[in-house]
């Protein structure tokens, strides 16, 4: 038994090690490469150049260069995009969760059959390809003068994110015993008061987990932000895409790499900070089918 267990331990350890390597190597590679010049990191000669920085030494005189970061943050003013992403992400997460908790709670407590059909409709809404949605928005937004503003994009992202948020929070609220709020209502609370005083204090783990997924959606969105925002309001991901060049222009790929590394930092901090809550939020039943 013991021998078998130790074998199992080794197996499971090596499995996890393999995954950790697979998951982290591309990021470490990008991080390392962001301090090289383009002809090293994207070397057509020999990939080892990315490690030893042959061309970096020739072109900049040192093993490492911060040209990519300077170019992105100072010359191309990437901080504006970072600021816009901050505004968009924060608003989307807050609004999504507010609407989602109210709706998810109602769906979990309704007891009528239409609640189930609303959930199914939400799933079907989620099936609509985003690119079709955004192409449909363009003309009305231009006509109404809504195009280009951060607020328009925020509302669109909130709406697109609602189906997933509703499903997740609905499952979560279903795991909170009904007795909790119903006994409060017996004591004379209205439904909303019961929600506020009884449910809100216990719902945070599920809300945080759902919030993380809303955050990722808003933070990483490209399809919608690329077409709905003006240059001045651009968020990080379309900005990074604009560094990549087009048929007419080569672009500054190293700016993009440096920007990608920069854009990943807040995600690192977020996951580090919330990982305990994410896990406990899920534990509390946020995603029970």
């Amino acid at each position: 038994m013991n021998k078998k267990n130790s074998w199992l331990n080794i197996l499971s350890l090596s499995f996890i090690l393999l995954w950790v390597i697979l998951a982290s190597v591309p990021f470490l590679w990008t991080l390392w490469g962001s301090f090289k010049v383009e002809s090293d990191f994207f070397s057509k000669q020999d990939w080892r150049n990315a490690i030893f920085g042959v061309r970096t030494i020739i072109e900049t005189g040192g093993m490492f260069t911060t040209n990519g970061y300077e170019g992105a943050w100072i010359k191309e003013e990437f901080w504006r995009a970072a600021l816009n992403t901050g505004i968009v992400t924060l608003s989307v997460v807050t609004i999504s969760l507010t609407l989602g908790t109210l709706g998810g709670y109602a769906l979990a407590r309704s007891g009528f059959r239409y609640a189930f059909w609303i959930l199914i409709a939400a799933l079907i809404f989620r099936a609509m390809p985003h690119i079709t949605l955004v192409s449909g928005y363009l003309l009305p937004f231009f006509e109404l003068g809504l195009w280009g503003h951060l607020s328009t994009t925020i509302i669109v992202l909130v709406a697109i994110n609602q189906p997933f948020t509703l499903w997740m929070l609905h499952s979560f609220f279903s795991t909170i015993p009904k007795d909790l709020d119903e006994s409060a209502m017996v004591d004379g609370c209205t439904r909303f008061e019961a929600f506020r005083h009884v449910i809100i204090p216990v719902m945070w783990p599920g809300v945080i987990t759902t919030g993380l997924f809303s955050f990722l959606l808003a933070y990483n969105d490209f399809a919608i932000t690329a077409l709905l925002l003006t240059e001045a309001n651009q968020t990080m991901v379309p900005k990074i895409a604009s560094f990549l060049g087009s048929a007419q222009e080569q672009g500054n790929v190293m700016f993009a790499v440096a920007a990608v590394v920069s854009a990943t930092v807040p995600l690192f901090m977020l996951v580090m900070f919330f990982q305990r809550q994410i896990v406990s939020g899920l534990t509390a039943g946020a995603v029970k089918g």
Binding site: T230, E231, A247
Partner: protein, 408 residues
């Protein structure tokens, strides 16, 4: 990218008084939209010098402009008073009547333009062109010398040169081409025009590519791919340029706007750069015209705006395409503007144009044809279907799309 700031009257203060006087505009709103690359940026920046007094100028350049141009100009009032366009974009805007004829504005305010800058349809000026671009031949003189061949003038010579380079062991894949996605369709169009082909039955939207010239075009493309990196179907201009700068390629038909960047002293060795030479796009199959398409870029004025804004925009754009702007940004494009100095990296574009290369067709239904070609000839190049089948597929895909657009 550099002028995200919306220049308003208040924001510029004193400085603007002088410059806006130069534009001669009293009031109006100028809103410029377009693709995002250095030449457009230069034009837009010069135009935004007109801000001040009662005039506001805003600029929004975006790589995805083509995806929003129709919607933004369909709205009333249009989001952009001027949309920067090329052959293909103007065709799309004109199909829906989204840009206005400029004849009156030209008569009143245009001075110093060259005749060639007017893009006219049925006698109406629809756009003012300011720069030209085309794909043309890039070659490595040192490699060709080592292989003992002269710079090729025809695609048959390109193949022979590639064979010589490969046989001598100088390079494994001497040719590169932009054979990925949208570019692939354009490569076919270039080569087919070089063969003297016609895409449609004359005067109608019926397709006519399934013919001997179409087959010859496909076979020539296939022969070229045999000397290309096996990943050729994923290659865009950036990938070709990267291979070029790494010295892996000796012959390519690449955009004139890339000629400057491959000889700019960055990303490559001086040996490669000093031996990079440009010439006209090659001819093919005994044809007389270079197998490439010529592109112009220019500005248009939206239909759905007030006359005041149209006039202000026209004047501001005229200020954007002055000789001074072209001289100050000589290396960014092949300017068509009077008094502009020739761009040293622009010889290939000029040679192709003077060789009689054709402009990219402005037929209303050409977009559907371009898309159909790009999507349907892939399997032939992968060796999975015959050339006849590929051309049949092109016509079938085109017919479905053109029917939906109301052309058939």
């Amino acid at each position: 990218m550099f002028f995200r700031t919306i220049l308003t009257a208040g924001a510029i203060g004193l400085l603007s008084t002088a410059s806006h006087a130069g534009c001669g505009i009293d009031s109006g709103s100028v809103r410029i939209g377009g693709n995002d690359f250095p030449a457009y940026q230069a034009v837009a920046e010069a135009a935004s010098q007109c801000a001040g007094g009662g005039v506001t100028v805003s600029v929004d350049l975006n790589k995805d402009h083509k995806d929003r141009q129709v919607a933004s100009l369909t709205a009333n009032p249009a989001e952009f008073t001027s949309s920067l366009a090329n052959n293909s974009a103007l065709r799309v805007l004109m199909n829906d009547g989204l840009v206005q004829p400029l004849n009156n504005l030209v008569a009143k305010h245009a001075s110093g333009l060259q005749d060639m800058q007017f893009v006219t349809v049925d006698g109406k000026v629809m756009a003012i062109a300011y720069m030209a671009n085309a794909q043309h031949l890039f070659y490595r003189s040192d490699i060709l010398n080592a292989a003992g061949v002269a710079p090729p003038k025809t695609y048959e010579e390109v193949l022979a040169a590639a064979k010589a380079i490969k046989d001598k062991g100088l390079m494994e894949y001497p040719i590169a081409g932009t054979y990925g996605g949208w570019n692939l369709g354009l490569e076919f169009i270039n080569m087919y025009l070089g063969h003297g082909g016609e895409f449609f039955e004359s005067g109608s939207a019926e397709p006519a590519v399934n013919n001997a010239k179409g087959l010859a075009t496909l076979n020539m493309m296939k022969s070229l791919t045999e000397y290309m990196n096996p990943d050729f179907l994923t290659y865009d201009s950036n990938a070709v340029q990267a291979d070029w700068e790494a010295g892996k390629v000796a012959l390519t038909n690449l955009w004139g706007s890339r000629a400057g960047p491959v000889t700019d002293g960055e990303g490559s060795t001086s040996e490669i750069e000093s031996n990079t030479k440009f010439s006209s796009a090659p001819t093919v199959a005994g044809g007389s015209i270079p197998a490439t398409t010529l592109w112009w870029d220019g500005f248009t004025i939206a239909t759905n705006i007030s006359d005041e804004d149209a006039e202000a925009t026209f004047k501001a754009m005229m200020n954007g395409i002055t000789t001074e702007m072209a001289v100050a940004n000589a290396e960014k494009a092949n300017w068509l503007i009077k008094g502009a100095q020739a761009n040293p990296a622009g010889v290939g574009v000029l040679a192709s144009a003077s060789g009689g290369a054709l402009p990219y067709p402005m037929l209303p239904y050409f977009g559907a044809m371009h898309t159909a070609i790009g999507a349907e000839i892939i399997e032939f190049l992968q060796g999975n279907e015959s050339a006849e089948q590929a051309l049949e597929d092109v016509e079938a895909a085109y017919i479905a799309a053109a029917t939906e657009k109301g052309f058939l």
